[in-house]
Symmetry: C2
Subunit: 366 residues, 2 copies
Amino acid sequence: MQTELSKKLGVEHAVFGFTPFPAVAAAISRAGGFGVLGAVRYTAPDDLKRDLDWLHAHTDGKPYGLDVVMPAKKVEGVTEADVEAMIPAGHREFVEATLAEHGVPELPEGEASGWRITGWMEQVARSQLDVAFDYPIKLLANALGSPPADVIERAHAHDILVAALAGSARHARKHADAGIDIVVAQGYEAGGHTGEIASMVLTPDAVEAVAPLPVLAAGGIGSGEQIAAALALGAQGVWTGSIWLTTTEAELHSRKLTEKLLAATSSDTVRSRALTGKPARQLRTEWTDAWDDPAGPGPLPMPLQGLLVAEAVSRIQKYEVDALLGTPVGQIVGRMNAERSVRGVFDELTRGFERAIDRVNRMAGR
Amino acid sequence: MQTELSKKLGVEHAVFGFTPFPAVAAAISRAGGFGVLGAVRYTAPDDLKRDLDWLHAHTDGKPYGLDVVMPAKKVEGVTEADVEAMIPAGHREFVEATLAEHGVPELPEGEASGWRITGWMEQVARSQLDVAFDYPIKLLANALGSPPADVIERAHAHDILVAALAGSARHARKHADAGIDIVVAQGYEAGGHTGEIASMVLTPDAVEAVAPLPVLAAGGIGSGEQIAAALALGAQGVWTGSIWLTTTEAELHSRKLTEKLLAATSSDTVRSRALTGKPARQLRTEWTDAWDDPAGPGPLPMPLQGLLVAEAVSRIQKYEVDALLGTPVGQIVGRMNAERSVRGVFDELTRGFERAIDRVNRMAGR
């Protein structure tokens, strides 16, 4: 799967793999794809440095990238405490009542909640970049709008391509105007933050909107047939994420969650504001149901919701509370039915791609 | 675009075109596709007979089909009046208040509402079939579940293939078990009744679920690139609908509606229960907003909602009330930007298909 973009980046296959796990990112790059490490969970620069050291040492010299979550709009002088103070008491009570209903224990004394708002704040993302620019990363992706102009400039000065996620043609054009190099068209079926437009329509919309900039198709891609479809739609490659969650290299820290992912069908996800305040696709659970219930208080806007539920999510994960346990994942979860190595998944992608090309050529009478 | 299914049906291209307009269906079949006439609006058998006569005379001997809306569950002895009586007074008041707010006039004395519940009732669908079986139709599609067993048998006795729309793999398997011949996998992005799963994921899900039965991909298909994508995903052809609405042969009866469709982007549709009580994708308007507003009474279940709004829809259409004027249409509406003949659209589909095959072959190094 060779495109102009994969050639430019020096990878064998135009398959980009986003993952929070360095071992998965390294294995994707080694397999001939392009591994992209998600930085959002690194609130301490030293942790990111440690994992980038490891990643760099394990890619066999193959290229890799970093994904940050950097809001385009700068909010000056707002601390986490200021944001905390904006959360209504009724919402905090709803969180506690929902956890109590399912018998979710408190965290042990002194154990901090793992995932915090901090990873979403610009100063944290900037400290991540200060670390990342010391490594030969080839791609910097931003999951939340275009990165600020100075960040794009700094990346370009390091010969790093800048990518940004878009959910509509209008959104994609905004990124192009901001000077980014690659648009990741994130379809409705994708895990994590998504818009309303499905990949079959969004991919060609984005391609037309930003040509000649390259577009990567994201959302619903978990097989070689789907890669062939994305390339037929005009994409220069695919951006995958969900399918790596159930690889043997992934470290989900919850066996029960892995089993839920392996058992889920494509009908078992929901696009909900429960996690961050913005619509994000994830496993449907009694937790998302509680937030989506019109009888409840409903989610708060970003960034309040993420801050509100951070500790609750840690508690649900730590105690593996089945009815509430979820994770961002796309509709492709229905095809994630067996744990396999990254290499195993990758080989199946390339085989399926060849099968699909054979089939369409037959149908085209070639 | 030749597949086993297109060969079986004797058409040049595996492109199925659903349309309520006989002139469009005939032109699709003449262009080398497979025209499918939607029967739901024919409440009088003689009207259907007249249009099937015309269609048969204008397809140059090429095959065509019929699409009915036949509920799988039989409701015995229920009249339209019984159903009318189940509608709460508050909902009727909401309809009138919303129309009054936009200054929508009443229908003239004696003018009946055009679209009624009757087309959705089994006895009406059966009377349509009594007419249709006198014509050499090659395909009978049902938009609402599997048709009853005796209808499938009767179709097969006439050498007619039976198709049914499905929104999930489970749904597709149910159809296969009922003995139908073709599954139309209707993705989230499709116009009309749809499920939650987008075409990129649903098409291969359905293919795997019912193999070796053929699957047609529906939802988001309006270009040859999208046809190539659907075939790469394992479909034996595509089922299109929206793209024919803005052809010169279509008779929408409202210039303003045609202009709204031509101007709409892929962000301008909504999956709403406003029209029939079941989620159906359509142009987003102040009418759908009113029904989707949590502050309002919300839509009634099928078939009550369709009956409740039938006259209102006729009034909105007759007086072309801009803010409320809509129609079922898929996300592909964003690419319907110019009125063209059916032949013009078809030629562009085949050209785009060849371009896409060229591109994926290049990317596959072939």
